[in-house]
């Protein structure tokens, strides 16, 4: 059992990358507009994040240094600061969106407006980050996020035409009535969020929180190769069910409520309840991931003491950053800005941050001074370089495509 629970860090990290509130809605939107045509993007994203999360987990297990330490060490304080600002903004926007997402899930359960739930969600989030043990948080939210499996099972209960779905998944172009720029915009958005940088920050810092040593290398790998594909699979549940329910009638999904409707159609109230519970756990988990990551990145850039394994008084600056980030997120939400829209702006900053995060990981994973004989093998290096190129290409293309399509309009 203990071994089984050791993979919850990977699951929780992956949830933040694949099924946080922005992804739930944009994956479902993609399903409703393009069918399951973007399945390949999920596959490419899963492999990419596995490659780099494995490297950063290995570096952390052997050297006990989290990823942001490497960024400043290899790229210097100036470029490190550029990355810090970009990553912090991404993390903060996502944090705000996730708190909004928790509130939206509560709205679907209660019927009361999500704005009323925002302050309560933020307070509970802060209390959890202040008081609850890291492992407990990871287990509770990593495991309850798995309730989203209900959407995967729904695929079979909705009796789709599997030949049709297979056709969509193997056609690498937009269906009739949709255009290429939008197809690419959604593909880039899905890919960028699969490889969003706070995942490696959180995963490697989580490894330090759990006091990984070189002996935990296997634990780290199991986390990566089980957690991330599982997260991607949950995202596929949203993609496929929206493709089955909404694509044929031509409805474009744009709200959380629509995204979970297929679970209700398949399994009734229990299915709907499970899906909403899963969304609640996933968004709350992603809120914890981004809230902590905000603190981790700032503290690791400046060298401050950080982490939940210390008493808060020993890491006062870290806890202040976390607290201030939550307050900023709440302030942003209370302007009644749409929380789901917030995550789309993340793409702008990803363009800068993604290459500056993954390059130092790749370089350090080849450093014998750090890793001894555990440096990258040829396969990890080939994959690392290929993905670095894809990441740069996606990053460069993101902003023009975004302006051109008016954010996927």
């Amino acid at each position: 059992m203990k071994r089984l629970l050791a993979v919850t860090l990977g699951i929780l990290t992956a949830i933040g990358g694949f099924v946080d509130i922005g992804d739930i809605v944009s994956t479902s939107e993609s399903g409703s507009r393009f069918g399951v045509a973007h399945t390949w993007v999920l596959v490419v994203g899963i492999i990419g994040i596995c490659v780099y999360a494995e490297m950063s987990g290995r570096v952390t297990a052997i050297s006990t240094r989290p990823v942001f330490d490497l960024i400043r060490e290899r790229l210097g304080p100036r470029i490190g600061l550029v990355n810090l600002l970009g990553s912090y903004l991404i993390t903060l926007l996502t944090l705000a969106a996730e708190i909004g997402g928790v509130a939206l899930a509560l709205q679907l359960l209660s019927g009361a407006s999500y704005l009323l739930w925002v302050p309560a969600a933020a307070i509970v989030l802060w209390l959890a980050l202040w008081r609850v043990k890291f492992e407990t948080l990871e287990r509770v939210f990593g495991l309850s996020g798995l309730a989203l499996v209900v959407l995967l099972v729904s695929i079979f209960w909705l009796h789709p035409d599997f030949a049709d779905l297979k056709g969509q998944a193997t056609t690498f172009s937009p269906p009739k009535g949709e255009n290429w720029p939008t197809y690419f915009f959604m593909a880039i958005a899905l890919f960028a969020s699969a490889m969003t940088p706070y995942e490696v920050f959180f995963f490697s810092s989580g490894g330090v929180e759990e006091r990984w040593t070189p002996r935990d290398l296997t634990i780290s790998r199991i986390n990566v190769f089980l957690g991330f594909p599982l997260g991607g699979l949950l995202a596929f549940g949203f993609l496929a069910t929206s493709a089955i329910v909404f694509e044929p009638i031509g409805v474009d999904v744009s709200t959380l409520g629509q995204a979970v409707l297929p679970a209700g159609m398949a399994f009734g109230r229990i299915g709907l309840g499970l899906a909403i519970l899963g969304v609640f756990a996933a968004t709350f988990g992603a809120a914890m991931e981004t809230g902590l990551s905000a603190g981790y990145t700032v503290a690791q850039y400046f060298g401050w003491s950080w982490g939940k394994f210390l008493r808060p008084r020993q890491a006062a600056r870290f806890h202040v950053v976390v607290l201030v980030s939550i307050l900023l997120a709440v302030a942003a939400l209370l302007t009644t800005i749409d929380p789901i829209q917030l995550t789309e702006y993340m793409l702008i900053f990803s363009a800068v941050v993604l290459p500056l995060t993954y390059l130092p990981i790749l370089v350090v994973a080849n450093d014998r001074g750090y890793l001894g004989d555990k440096v990258n093998g040829p396969f990890a290096n080939i994959m690392g370089v290929i993905y670095l190129i894809i990441v740069v290409a996606a990053a460069v293309a993101a902003v023009p495509v975004m302006i051109f399509t008016g954010m996927g309009g």
Partner: protein, 121 residues
């Protein structure tokens, strides 16, 4: 093996004897004759001075306002360094070093006042 100041020291994490972060190596102080490494400098003051320009002055200025007791950045004598690998390990516990001003202030005025601040998470 030779020690490279920019590569092995600058921007590395300083850890105390128990592995708790103390700060980054934001700069390295040389002996008056510039022949030896004398001390590690850490904190935003040293960092800002390295940046230079408007941004650097702003970082140094803010850090200096928070910490009026000290004239320069925090210094850690090189004699306290036990080992340099992926981090710089000190041979002492961090309680023996002067605490960073911001950490001390936030501990006293914000974090220390919240219930549960002294319990490990």
């Amino acid at each position: 093996m030779p020690l490279l100041i920019a590569f092995d020291l600058l921007d590395r994490q300083i850890l105390d004897r128990d592995g708790i972060p103390v700060g980054k190596v934001d700069d390295v102080e040389l002996s008056p004759d510039s022949r030896y490494v004398a001390a590690l400098l850490t904190g935003q003051r040293a960092l800002g001075a390295r940046f230079g320009g408007v941004l650097g002055r702003w970082i140094t200025g803010t850090a200096a306002r928070l910490d009026t007791d000290r004239t320069g950045p925090r210094r850690i004598e090189y004699a306290l360094v036990a080992k340099v690998d992926s981090a710089v390990h000190l041979s002492v516990r961090r309680e023996l070093l002067t605490p960073p001003a911001l950490e001390a202030w936030l501990d006293e005025h914000v974090i220390g006042r919240i219930p549960g601040a002294s319990d490990a998470g």
